[in-house]
Amino acid sequence: MRLRYSPSSPFVRKVSVFAIETGLDAKIERVPTNPMKRADVAGSPNPLGKVPCLETEDGMVLYDSPVILEYLDTLHGGPPLIPREGRARWDTLRRQALADGILDATVLTFVESLRQPERQSRGYLAHLRAAVERAVAALGAEAAALPDPRGRPDVGTIAIGCALGFVDYHFKDFAWRTKYPALGAWYDAFAQRPSMTATVPIDPRTVP
């Protein structure tokens, strides 16, 4: 398999963490692709130019990250990281969707911040920031119900871990740990997993 990736993408990180946790890591060849570079986008099998994008052994081209993770979950021999049915499945996927929404809003904030100051929309930035703060508050309210951060992860907890790491990096003035200490403790334990420490994203401004 070939994974189109950027070392700064939190959505790529979800796939990388998943691959390490399930032992699929060694089967994935990684091809750097900068979604902000026109030539890289033109050469990508994903017409939308986004990463992560996975090319499978049997010729499928998969994106976005939830589609990739669902596919990868069929390839390893361990217990699924996306429960196959029932309440556990919907809880896991709901958490992934909430975390992905935090990532979307944070990525959009970063992309907006790349514009020259006079071209930025303060109203849009405030709208995105409010969405991130409310969504992290929702995670804070759910912290006690989250699976053990030291136990086997699922795609919900992997996405939450990647989302909180990204929020930490891009909203340094958002003191969410103070407001939601149980969530902070959960994340600090989750972030110690070898799959997380091995995949810390680099600053997007330094991607070659």
């Binding site: 939308l48 998969l62 589609v67 049915e85 909430l98 935090i102 071209r119 969405a131």
Partner: protein
Amino acid sequence: MKLRYTAASPFSRKVLVVAHECGLAGLIEKVPADLEHPEGDLANDNPLGKVPTLVLDDGTALIESSLICEWLEAEGNGALIPREAKARTAALQLQALGDGIGEAAICVQRERNRTGPQHSDQVEARWQRKFDRAMDLLESDFDRRMAGAPNIGHVAIACALGWVDFRMTNMDWRAKHPKLARWYAEFARRPSMAATAPLAPKP
């Protein structure tokens, strides 16, 4: 159950089409949402302030159209997401492409709506290229991707194109994509599509 939606959103429409296709539309109470002012209303159902959001009868709120569609399919024993692994992956992949086309079109329009110094031709062109490349891929690979029984990917593509027709001018996708244009004209006649078509706002 309660669906927070906006009439124009292609992702809201996708959920409604799936609900019609799997016979659950009658069980859904549709509650419009104000995306500009989510505080105290939509944000109570979805902290991200986005539509569609489906609030189940037990209070669980499902967000993201792909997740809501999968839940509806499971609940209604629908036929839009195949059970067999390979076909299922292909359908979900096509949905991601359709959703991406809708997102690209929305981002083109959002940039057009930014006027004065906040507008960027480069940003608009970048999203336009994504839209064009995705549409070109569908047109050139039409037989492999678009043939066969309708699946969730087809619904996503049809809702994205419906949004383009409804909201955008100067986006004449039909001329360069004749196979897609013929397919869309046919698909848009499905009762689920006709019942969910966005209406022009009252003057």
